[in-house]
């Protein structure tokens, strides 16, 4: 019973942190389950995918209802994230766990460095302020025009396809949502305003993770006894995090998170060596 409650609490902590920092819980759930509870890495990735879908569906529901997410663009890119997830999910059961651990540690370090460089602007504030410039040229009547939204026009579809496929592979291999790839991809490379990119990425995460979660499910890579308490914890944590985000000093939290990520990456690397 105590272990079940600890998993619930750990999932809640991952959900709060993830929600406050706009990362989703996946980055923390895999280390929590492998380092904290001794689960095999692939099982932890399977559970993490379930948690990622849950938080994504809840957030995407709100974003779609408020018309913040771009459904057409999201679904078009989902075609490629799902393809990447199909490849990643299949490869995950062939690759050596140590290699996946190494990739995970590399991703944690990348996220830690990105967050350390992000400065003191909270993600929520950035979402409101940092809007990509609108292309002044008249829009040609093509698919890109139809994928665009109010006040912006989508560009660089080739980069979008390439990046979305890569995000799908990463998501399936490491059990994360892949927002760390999709948001900069849509915002910086494709000209989508940050707020729309964040919401659309959140919506896409669900189908990306679902495409690989079914593969993990069939391979027996999802344990219901672990996934249940962890997913409930993450859902509760994310709900609390979204409500208290305006009261928390994000600079301190970001610093703490960078330290936690760095330490976790080191532990994952030690697992590879050990």
């Amino acid at each position: 019973m105590i272990i079940g409650l600890l998993m619930l609490g750990g999932g809640a902590a991952a959900g709060v942190f993830g929600s406050l920092l706009g990362l989703g819980g996946g980055v923390l759930i895999v280390p929590l389950l492998t380092l904290g509870f001794g689960l095999p890495l692939r099982d932890a990735v399977g559970v993490s995918l379930v948690c990622v879908i849950m938080t994504s569906s809840a957030a995407a529901g709100v974003y779609l209802e408020r018309h913040v997410a771009n459904l057409r663009l999201g679904m078009t890119l989902e075609l490629f994230t799902a393809l990447g997830a199909l490849v990643g999910g299949s490869v995950a059961f062939v690759l050596d766990e140590r290699l996946i651990s190494l990739l995970f540690a590399g991703m944690l370090l990348y996220v830690a460095v990105t967050m350390a460089r992000a400065g003191s602007v909270p993600p929520s504030a950035a979402s409101e302020l940092d809007v990509a410039p609108v292309d002044e040229e008249p829009a040609p009547p093509n698919m890109l025009d139809r994928l665009s939204g109010d006040g912006y026009r989508v560009r660089n579809p080739g980069r979008g396809v390439f990046g979305a496929t890569g995000a799908g592979v990463i998501s399936a291999l490491l059990g994360v949502g892949g927002g760390i790839v999709k948001v900069p991809l849509m915002h910086l490379a494709m000209g989508v305003p940050l707020r729309v990119a964040t919401a659309t990425s959140n919506m896409m995460i669900g189908i990306t993770a679902a495409a690989s979660a079914v593969i993990y499910l069939i391979h027996g890579g999802i344990d219901p006894y672990v996934a249940g308490p962890t997913a409930i914890g993450v859902f509760l944590g994310a709900s609390v995090g979204s409500r208290v985000s305006h009261r928390v000093d994000l600079r301190f939290l970001r610093l703490l998170f960078v330290i936690v990520l760095g330490y976790t990456a080191l532990q994952m690397l030690l697992r590879v060596v050990g």
Binding site: G4, G38, L39, M54, L64, L79, I215, G228, A231
Partner: protein, 123 residues
């Protein structure tokens, strides 16, 4: 985008958003029941749960077994974003936006391929 398509897309987004929220709460409810039954039974999660068996799922739920509710909740979680794509395909089809319908079908085909290849690999 034509006005008709824009209006249809706007309405579809609201309906799909509501469906996602509803499905999420259904999933959470099933998982909460499963976790409470798990804790009440004194089962440690790290002992490992039973694999998914669709033939016994219903009887497990009727018998108030934790694994039944947990698997049902987990399946609901995974099905939620997939059902969003199905609903979007229907909405886009009604609006005559066939390119988006094909995209939705292609996404579903990729997921079906994943299921088929994974199932073939485990046989």
């Amino acid at each position: 985008m034509t006005t008709r398509r824009a209006i249809a897309s706007f309405a579809a987004e609201r309906q799909i958003g509501r469906l996602l929220i509803l499905f999420t709460y259904v999933s959470v409810t099933l998982l909460v029941v499963g976790v409470l039954l798990l804790l009440a039974a004194g089962i440690s999660p790290i002992d490992g749960g039973p694999p998914l068996d669709l033939s016994t799922l219903f009887s497990e739920v009727v018998a108030f077994g934790p694994a039944g509710f947990l698997w049902l909740g987990l399946l609901a979680v995974i099905v939620t974003p997939i059902s969003r794509v199905v609903l979007a395909a229907i909405a886009f089809g009604r609006a005559g936006d066939w390119s988006m319908v094909w995209i939705a079908f292609a996404i579903l085909a990729i997921i079906a391929t994943g299921v088929a290849t994974a199932a073939a690999g485990t046989v």
